[in-house]
């Protein structure tokens, strides 16, 4: 086993008293003061997340777009410069190698943002499938990524950055400056709240982190990041998505183009091959279902498996995600979750389970 890597913010987290634990090959902050507090601060105020462990690949060349269209499930040709989109990188069998964001920086220039634990494999997979004149560069090591998320984040960003970013729309990004250096600010995130993902040179990471704290942002860890994404029904690679599960089953129809060929499309776009459906689950009580627990019909027949589960701090009840055969994926249907200890009553919910997120609202409402 190789030793876990540290992000450029490692010392900052330790100095601030975060609880650290391994994730995706890195030693990361799991929580600062408490997952519930950090979760609530994201929904109501603003929080900082260290996401430096994620990977950034830059691609360029006259065939870069065509190459990416073959590799990634979503349509990319319609991306404008300054726009990004969520998609998946799949194998020939339709399984998911990773989920990622594609940023169109210019006509022939793209940035891919990938997960930490998968990035080396992603890089090799992509590089082996590019045209001879498409360049790819892994800039993960020199790029710091910080997420500032929550309704108070737009004001903080305007106070921190050299220029205001008041006009930035959802899933748009721009190059701007911070302390005179070029950074990328993206109106995206993994929390369901209005917020930003910031890509900056490593040397600016700690300064940005501390300045956002001075503006009132709460430091948060991967624990809250997980409960936040679960409430809004976003998949986590290795849980909802894997190499052996057909990408179509996750249900992100918007992220899967049906009018182009890409690696895996013969499986993913064939409705006959989509056997199961990802569902949201709301449990009756606070007792949580956990990954690997069995989803049953109300009369006790096993129909599927939980992929993620936790208390929902926003709703005060336990929630989960999992997969069941298509015919059982009916909203409002009563089910039960067999945990190691007992069967918990639950119902199938629409996704997102938490519906009051601010992510898509206009920035001007928060300024």
């Amino acid at each position: 086993m190789s030793e876990d890597k540290k992000t450029v913010l490692y010392e900052t987290h330790v100095d601030l008293g975060a609880k650290m634990a391994p994730f995706g090959g890195y030693i990361m902050p799991i929580q600062y003061t408490g997952i519930v507090k950090e979760h609530e601060a994201t929904r109501k105020e603003a929080t900082l997340f260290d996401t430096c462990h994620m990977g950034e690949f830059y691609l360029s060349g006259p065939n870069a777009l065509a190459d990416l269209e073959k590799l990634i499930t979503c349509t990319l040709s319609t991306l404008e410069n300054g726009q990004c989109r969520y998609g998946m990188l799949c194998n020939e069998q339709g399984g998911v190698i990773d989920d990622l964001l594609t940023y169109r920086i210019a006509e022939e220039d793209f940035m891919l943002v990938v997960n930490a634990g998968t990035q080396d494999n992603d890089f090799e997979w992509i590089k082996a499938r590019l045209s001879a004149d498409t360049q790819i560069e892994n800039r993960s090591a020199e790029t710091a990524k910080i997420d500032l998320q929550g309704p108070a984040s737009p004001k903080m960003m305007n106070a921190i950055l050299d220029e205001e970013i008041s006009d930035l729309r959802y899933f748009r990004f721009k190059h701007t400056t911070y302390k005179g250096e070029t950074i990328i600010v993206s109106r995206t995130g993994y929390t369901g709240e209005v917020g930003f993902e910031i890509y900056a040179p490593n040397k600016l990471a700690e300064t940005f982190w501390k300045e956002a704290m001075q503006q009132g942002a709460t430091c948060a860890g991967l624990g809250a990041r997980d409960t936040l994404r679960l409430e809004i029904g976003m998949p986590l690679y290795g849980h909802e998505l894997s190499q052996t599960r057909n990408a179509a089953e996750a249900g992100f129809a918007r992220s899967i183009a049906d009018d182009k060929e890409f690696i895996g499309s013969s499986v993913i776009c064939d409705p006959e091959q989509k056997k199961e459906t990802m569902i949201g689950i709301t449990l009756e009580g606070r007792r949580a279902a956990r990954e690997g627990d069995i989803i049953q019909t109300s009369d006790g027949t096993a129909i599927g498996t939980i992929t993620s589960g936790s208390i929902s701090p926003s709703l005060g009840t336990a929630i989960a995600m999992g997969y069941v055969p298509n015919e059982y994926a009916i909203e409002g249907k009563e089910i039960s979750i067999q945990t190691a200890r007992k069967a918990l009553p639950a119902i199938i919910s629409s996704l997102p389970i938490y519906k009051d997120g601010t992510a898509r609202k206009k920035l001007s409402r928060f300024l």
Binding site: G34, I35, V36, K37, R287, A288, I311
Partner: protein
């Protein structure tokens, strides 16, 4: 930090004697390790438990953990306050966050539990990590 008026199990429960009753809870180290506690299932009153018997569940955002009886005894009362407010155990594990009370408890087993200093020594290695 660790109160010296009670004894401790290696599985992070504390036992405090008040008259004929043994009061049981989990330690500050345990609540800190669990993180935000979201649900507690306590044993039924009026039944006997054996030492190390699984008699409840404590769930946090991160995981579910078994609650073990630190000594033999007869459960006579459980802390009903925790039903709606399990976070009391995070806030005050040694007083308001007690879990259940035992009558006719096993005094020999109680005497064999760890004192505060020995209990602290069981997880000293974890400090400074």
């Amino acid at each position: 930090m660790t109160p010296s008026d009670r004894r401790y199990s290696e599985t992070h429960e504390w036992v405090k004697i008040e008259g004929d009753i043994a009061i049981v809870g989990i330690t500050d180290y345990a609540q800190e390790s669990l993180g935000d506690i979201t649900f507690i299932e306590l044993p039924e009153s009026d039944h006997k438990v054996d030492q190390e018997e699984e008699c409840g569940v404590i769930e946090s955002v991160k995981a579910a953990s078994d609650l073990n009886a630190p000594i033999d005894g007869e459960i006579v009362e459980v802390n009903e306050e925790l039903d709606g407010k399990p976070e009391i155990v995070n806030e005050d594990p040694y007083e308001e966050g007690w879990l259940f009370k035992l009558a006719n408890y096993n005094k020999e087993q109680f005497e064999e539990l760890l004192d505060a200093a020995d209990y602290e020594a069981t997880h000293d290695d974890d400090h400074g990590e």
